[in-house]
Symmetry: C3
Subunit: 309 residues, 3 copies
Amino acid sequence: MNEFYQKDIFSIKDYTKEQLETIFTYTDKIMQLSLSERREICKGKILGYLFYEPSTRTRLSFESAMASIGGNSLGISDITSSSTQKGESLADTVRIMSIYSDVLVLRHPLDGSSRFAAEISDKPVINAGSGTEEHPTQAIQDLFTIKKEKKKIDGLKIGIVGDLKYGRTVYSLLHGLGNYDVDVNLISPESLRIRSDSTYEIKRKLDFTETTDIEEHLDELDVLYVTRIQKERFPDEEEYLKVKGSYVVGLDMLKRMKDDAIILHPLPRIDEISADVDKTKNAKYFEQAEYGKYTRSALLGMILNENSF
Amino acid sequence: MNEFYQKDIFSIKDYTKEQLETIFTYTDKIMQLSLSERREICKGKILGYLFYEPSTRTRLSFESAMASIGGNSLGISDITSSSTQKGESLADTVRIMSIYSDVLVLRHPLDGSSRFAAEISDKPVINAGSGTEEHPTQAIQDLFTIKKEKKKIDGLKIGIVGDLKYGRTVYSLLHGLGNYDVDVNLISPESLRIRSDSTYEIKRKLDFTETTDIEEHLDELDVLYVTRIQKERFPDEEEYLKVKGSYVVGLDMLKRMKDDAIILHPLPRIDEISADVDKTKNAKYFEQAEYGKYTRSALLGMILNENSF
Amino acid sequence: MNEFYQKDIFSIKDYTKEQLETIFTYTDKIMQLSLSERREICKGKILGYLFYEPSTRTRLSFESAMASIGGNSLGISDITSSSTQKGESLADTVRIMSIYSDVLVLRHPLDGSSRFAAEISDKPVINAGSGTEEHPTQAIQDLFTIKKEKKKIDGLKIGIVGDLKYGRTVYSLLHGLGNYDVDVNLISPESLRIRSDSTYEIKRKLDFTETTDIEEHLDELDVLYVTRIQKERFPDEEEYLKVKGSYVVGLDMLKRMKDDAIILHPLPRIDEISADVDKTKNAKYFEQAEYGKYTRSALLGMILNENSF
């Protein structure tokens, strides 16, 4: 019996390095299966999704992951704007959805929402993004991408650039990286630095430096993880425009990086990475999206199947 | 050949007690099948849904029921707000949808809409709620729940509380109960009493008393069926607030009921039943939702399969 | 290996008569298969759709076509109104969607959008309507319908009536008909005549006459293809009302047509064809919708399967 069978996925913090490696091994297995073998893994199983924040990309990644292993998906893609909300509590919605499905995928603005849901749900709950810090399946996808593309995670020097204050993706990735022996360089404008209340916990597991200057460690990086900077986050537009330009990853910047450095991005991208980078061998953000499909197939497969496949 | 094969479902009034019992027997059979056996029942069949009123819960119940017996669902979940409406007639929409699917599930504000649809559709039509009175699959779900939880329907004393005037669920349930030898107590504020034009027809089949006082027969009830009371239905807020409080089912009220009485609710619930009731052995509304999945699987299976399964 | 395997579908102009006939032959084959044989064709394959213009009917036709051959569909049904758009480029959205699916179905207001998408997508792209002129799968559906109902296309006299200026369906059909030896009569109000920039190209392949008077050639037509006239297209309402009435196909008009003439319409219809025509043997627009499901199943099957089925 695999240890993830019928288990929830709440937080990347819950996983040891060993467990992450088990997930990666399962993902590799799924990728090696023929399409018809894959289709048997969750044949006839139902994924129920509840998105209290719309996230088309995450939802479609789960739907595609589930379809490719033979399962179906159904649910509500934008509850808050749904005319059907009718004031029902999260608890009741989760309870009903758990009746209609074999595994529940929940996106919710509040911290702890998926743990709360799991107390109510008869079926395992997967956190598809919650609160300020948690997006465990994204972190697993990101770590797997680094592992596949760099053949290792330990020993790497990893830069993370953009809005580090508001992106839950960044926090989840940092907590995930905390299991590995990596050197992290956080690059952001002063006003979008990683939150100090999170710094303490992350510092215990991970060595990181902070800078506003993307050039500072650029030539040493093995991985540059780029995130969006949203205009709305800035107090005034001028500061936004100044910052925005300086963090755009283009061919020029790429030239100053290691030849085998890789560029990642959780997507959607607006213009943080210029389109001419897409064709370089360093651009791995679309591979990252594809690995996300496979890691989600693996997680769903492990949760819904007692035996390793 | 089963008698429901390729037949429409318009109204709970069309069914005899015997037919209802046949549906219940099929539902029991489905519940006993293994998941892989279930999946064969409607393998590759397509359910097409047309919701002229949004009802996420009913739609998902049908989708889940269809998925668990191997079929697919597609359709339009909110036609009225759809930018694609383009002024097409119900007749044409039904006709097209019947081309794209093997069975049609229709939710529509008008009485008689599903009968009208069936005249046009090549495929059987299931009424998923129409007009003021009809919601046959909900009534079947409710009756099946009572049967399963109380082991019988005949001889029971059943209270129905809340907005009895505007809820089609209540009318369908009453007509369904008309096939059984039950004692019904209708509990509602004066302004939300069951409509007098319906009373006559129901009276012919069913003994019921009316009261505004939920306490009146509380200690005799075997089943208490709770429905929402919507603020908008009241002429002034004060009356609403007065009424609302007095009909909330809580642990206190439960204590004054029979030990083995069951509480039902078509859901979604707002606050007509307090959350602490959920964990009591009397609360059966989530079981009711689950039975709804199975009764719908049974109906779909019988309609789409010539032979009993 | 079939010549459509892993190929895109951009424009009806790309197909020779021979290729169209191959598609028709495949469609016939699909129609003759048993339901369980059909279900094997695209078993476990995923269709990803991106609709930058909502078109429920086209989307459902593809979904139904894919479901009936065993595949799944997922995607975004109305990107422009989606709160999830977040400013992502068409290129990135296409790229991601091509990761999540085996074939991409794209509806987009711009000419050339599907060719652009195909440069980015790893998976074949099907144009489900783009720009002013292209709707190749609709044209294939229309040609197949004519072939099935009239047993031939060559030698027919075909009238096309309505808004010929703005309907991409009409242009695609005309280009498709350009492969056959047909006589075309275009009937429209002066202000909604086919665009002169398109006339030149079509004229090289097709003989057509233009008229504002639907009666002019009515008694000679084998096929009358009716399209909607939208009020918004007219400079003033009076002209609209005058025109609108004169082009309505009713029983009277039908009497003046050949006994075996057929009436087609891409649907949705508003009131260009009166409802009493529906029951005549001449009305073939619902058959046309059904053939659309089969032609799309055939196209998807050929694109996703190396070998003829």
